[in-house]
Symmetry: C2
Subunit: 411 residues, 2 copies
């Protein structure tokens, strides 16, 4: 089922494609393939402009801004001119490959308004680099992350009025890549669509942290070595809903995904997981699972690791990316060494945990792992501090290279 | 991120949902939810009827019939009236969950024309039962397979002129289920769309079998215990394209998916795999991997097992569903015990193998496993016979309960 275009596209680096390599291969074989080019951006404004809803009415991902950004790609021509158009339905042949074979990947990122009113993106190139890598893993086109960030920046500038002013609020951005080839042969899509929609959102915890309870899950397995759990593919998400519903029936907010008989701790729901404990050597350690191919390379995860290395190591903490097990967490809890644990992701930034229910593993018995919180609070001190460090950088209170200025729109 | 409808839907059996159970749970809690009802079928005929292309011009999944079948579902109302409409684009909000979270599953099945001109479906209830199960696994609605087969039968009858007359040709049917909720919260879709499109297709091997070479693949892993490899989810397919491209670069038509350090033989490309050998006890054995959660429950697989049990056991064969390894295949080849091997699926029915390249596993060395073919032919004798038994039943030469009559359309 290989089509002519396959010969060219097979030359792409396949597992961890980086644009530079891909572009080199392309250019040596097909110099005519166009790259993403913000200078070609075409803007078609809506005739029916809307308004930002009242802040208290904002629900994640339910209402969207006036416009969307879209860039088409074909195997023969590469990337077409970026277009900002009124937010509109996609009209797709029912044979389109995204409906049949899971050709979709996406990102979650946010635009923030600083206290002086300026707009900022937070580490957007990390997201675009990851999307390019996800895309290449499923035979969709890679792209230059920098060029894509420029397009997104222009889109955010145009939608400026939809970026809430209130602290804790932001404009959630959803860059998405789908295969659009309208034939049923199982092969690399000859066409694709990159698009970005934007939804104004409120803080995940409007009235302070609310610690969650997890069900440690080993019956369902989210990711596997040699699989695609480290990529942000659409197909990784749908299978997690039923486990989440089962956990919810038993009173848990999220799954803690375990791996293997050893019960390795991997991720929580759709977030990375950090555990803080006094390790067996008596040293304070903040630990998260390593990027071994089964863990999503979270931008928040990466940021937290950097912040922890900057600030916490000075206080005697060690910061680790390594495999650890639920059994080790249980032992630490029993021995009073478990300090706190929290999920990390774009939506909540940090999401403190209060309890993990675990079946005890092979031959073990069902038990709860209780995770300390501060007295009268729903978070541990490290989660609180990290959340604050992150917010200061996202909103530009503390200037870093992570916070990328969005120049105002100019007609 | 649970919505009100979750409470109801969480009551569904989750991993191997069968409609009967699901319907019972629904009816006890929400008697108003409508089921799929063929008596409500509405037909809107095209104003621009097309014609069946010349047989030699038919390419799999590229051209479609005049109409499509569509049935909408909502969590609040259940299934709406089935509609047959002109083949048309789907218009979907860019926030629709199928684009973001992999809410899609599908089936492949065929309508055949008998020598007397009648139309037949082959074991359609097996496909609809599997689709209902796939759907439930990703929090999309299950349904009554019988009712869905009736709807498909009516659709096929209307498209009668597109079912080719020539032996070996057929009308490929693509039943598809997608989540249609237009919001970004990660949760069970509150709405879905079932649709069927149809593509006239020619024989997979127009001029006789063409045996294929496989690359045994362990770097990429298609499925794993606790995952969704036994369901026909869209998200299982996109990750297989890059491995297929890599294998193609080295001259192989398909991947042979191995699992684990043991090198268990699982599937080939998008087909189940059958191996025929003299086993270590000196007995002729036809073997395929067991349905352990990592193997797609192929309808062709099931049919071949039944035929082998009916015909081959009389000739001294044993028919096995059990785990076996690539090492066992290599040993059998070395000892002259390997008789033949073939893929099995809806598209090709059987697809004979000639060679498997294998890296030798942990500590082993790269080698080829050569698979015998008949002299001057591109298939082994068992593949040939099974293919014939299948075709006789698909086209109704031999009457069985597998071949389901499609009553002619009546205006």
């Amino acid at each position: 089922m290989l089509r002519p275009s396959t010969l060219l596209r097979a030359a792409r680096p396949q597992t961890a494609a980086r644009f530079a390599t891909a572009a080199r291969l392309y250019s040596s074989q097909a110099p005519q393939l166009a790259e993403v080019d913000v200078s070609k951006l075409v803007i078609q404004r809506t005739q029916t402009p809307g308004q930002l809803k009242k802040e208290e009415e904002l629900v994640f991902g339910r209402t969207f801004t006036d416009h969307m950004l879209a860039i088409e790609w074909t195997a023969g021509k590469g990337w077409s001119a970026p277009r900002i158009t009124p937010y509109q339905a996609l009209s797709l042949d029912p044979a389109t490959c995204v409906f049949h074979y899971g050709f979709s990947c996406f990102e979650g990122m946010k635009a923030y308004r600083t206290s002086s009113g300026e707009l900022r993106l937070f580490r957007p190139e990390k997201n675009m680099d990851r999307l390019s890598t996800s895309s290449a893993r499923i035979a969709l086109p890679p792209f230059d992350p920098k060029a894509m960030v420029e397009c997104i920046s222009r889109f955010v500038a145009l939608e400026e009025k939809f970026v809430p002013k209130k602290r804790g609020y932001s404009l959630y951005l959803r860059p998405t890549m789908i295969g659009t080839q309208p034939t049923l042969g199982v092969g690399p899509p000859g066409s694709a669509l990159f698009f970005v929609i934007a939804s104004p959102v409120g803080p995940y915890y409007p009235s302070g942290f609310k610690a969650v309870s997890l069900e440690a899950t080993s019956k369902f397995v989210r990711a596997w070595p040699g699989g695609t759990g480290d990529k942000k593919l659409g197909g990784n998400y749908a299978p997690c809903i039923v486990p989440q519903q089962e956990a919810a029936k038993r009173g848990f907010q999220q799954n803690l995904w375990l791996f293997g008989e050893e019960g390795y701790v991997t991720e929580v729901g759709t977030m990375n997981l950090f555990t803080c404990w006094i390790n067996k050597d008596g040293v304070k350690e903040i630990v998260t699972a390593p990027l071994d191919g089964t863990i999503l390379e979270g931008v928040t995860r990466d940021s937290i690791l950097a912040l922890a290395r900057e600030f916490l190591t000075k206080e005697g903490w060690i910061v680790s990316e390594r495999k650890y097990t639920i059994k080790e967490m249980a032992e630490a809890a029993d021995e009073g060494r478990l300090l706190e644990a929290f999920g990390a992701g774009t939506a909540a930034v940090v999401s403190p945990l209060r309890r993990i229910a675990w079946d005890g593993g092979v031959g073990g018995t069902q038990r709860d792992i209780n995770i300390p919180l501060q007295k009268g609070k729903e978070a541990g001190p490290i989660a609180e501090r990290i959340w604050k460090w992150m917010e200061e950088r996202q909103y530009g209170d503390v200037e870093t290279s992570w916070s990328v200025h969005v120049p105002p729109h100019q007609d």
